[in-house]
């Protein structure tokens, strides 16, 4: 029973000793700085001190609000994300659909190119041409109107 008390005392006494040394160390390091700041602070006129207090409080509140707002926006997923499309590389065939390996001086002639373009359009129109009017075939009508059995 006594042995237990002794152990407890030892453990209870150990921590304050460690804390005290850490506190004294901190005080030892920061005391001159604090003293200096205190002296500077006391040198400032009282009215200005009040103004500085108010400004710092407002600043702190604003900072706090900004942090809260950014957290809320992130949680809602409303932060706009810039979506960049994947670059598409296309290889277009030459307009004529064929590659001329040994071009003549007329290969780039505007007159020839115009004729080629006209031909291409004409070919397209011919491909889509409907020779017979399938939508306009005559209606099916009943002309056998009688009342005989």
């Amino acid at each position: 029973m006594n042995g237990n008390n002794i152990n407890q005392q030892v453990t209870e006494n150990n921590n304050p000793v460690v804390n005290q040394t850490f506190k004294t160390k901190v005080i030892y390091v920061f005391q001159p700085v604090i003293n200096k700041l205190k002296s500077v602070w006391l040198k400032i006129p009282e009215r200005l001190r009040k103004v500085l207090c108010i400004v710092s409080i407002v600043f702190a509140v604003l900072l706090f609000l900004m942090i809260i707002l950014s957290i809320v926006l992130k949680s809602r997923g409303k932060v706009p994300v810039e979506v960049k499309p994947t670059p598409v590389v296309s290889f277009e065939p030459p307009p004529s659909g064929e590659v001329i390996t040994n071009p003549s001086r007329y290969a780039t002639d505007p007159g020839v190119l115009k004729i080629e373009e006209d031909l291409r359009n004409l070919e397209k129109e011919l491909d889509s041409l409907q020779v017979n009017e399938v939508n306009l075939l005559p209606p099916r009508l009943d002309f056998d109107i009688n009342f005989d059995k």
């Binding site: 004529s96 064929e98 001329i100 040994n102 071009p103 003549s104 001086r105 007329y106 290969a107 002639d109 007159g111 020839v112 115009k114 004729i115 080629e116 006209d118 031909l119 004409l122 070919e123 129109e125 011919l126 041409l129 409907q130 020779v131 017979n132 009017e133 939508n135 306009l136 075939l137 005559p138 209606p139 009508l141 009943d142 002309f143 056998d144 109107i145 009688n146 009342f147 059995k149």
Partner: protein, 272 residues
Amino acid sequence: MYNVKMRVILVIAFCIGIVFSGRSVKAEEFDYQQAYKDYQYNYSLYSRLHDEYRLSRARYLQYKTLVSEDEAKKATLAMLEARDDTIRTYLTALRLRVMENPGLSDSEKESVFGRIDPEVKYYEEHKEKLSSAGSLKDFSKDSDKAKEQYKFSTENVFYNSLVNISVGNTAYKRKQTEEVISNLRSKITEIKSAGDKDVSVIDGFFVEIDNKLARSRDKEIAAVDVMIKSEKSTKNKVDYYNEAVGSVQQSYLYLKESVSYLKEIVRLIKTK
């Protein structure tokens, strides 16, 4: 002051009225699309009324009562009127299709209109007379008259117009092909005079193209001839129509071949 204000308001209202009346006139322009919709509506109405006619006819033949006869009369009148309207609106759609066809000349169009217009008039008059029929037998006779007209005249006008439209479609494309040929010939003359490229082989291609175009033209004439032949015949008109359209189809293939030759010429010009 009040009078001046009133005058200004009236002038503005008048101007707005003119602008909107102009728009409504423009919106009411009757083209092929409108005519086709009109025809489709009348045809679907006819189909519905024909079903009702068949039903009332069956009831009348079964019961032979005055009530069933009265119902049969009403249904037959409505169906016959709708049939006349269907033919009339179909003819109108054909007329506008012909009118808007750039491949037909004015005289060709007038020739088709000259056949469509009397038909339209016939069915308008026929419809007007229907309501005066007093018995089911009268309706039968009225229908028989329309049947005769349809068999010996209207059906021919239908298929003749359709073949003309098809011929017009290919004729327009041939005209466009001939324009390209003309431009190409001018270019070749220019190349020949420059003397920096041998284009003698191209002349042979032009002979082939001319032959193809001549054959294309012949096939169109043949299609029209088939339709002339069909009018003198009592055989099924659809068979003649299919033969004529087959001929136009061949004309179209010759056109496509001539375009292939033209493309080859352009390729030769662009190559050393």
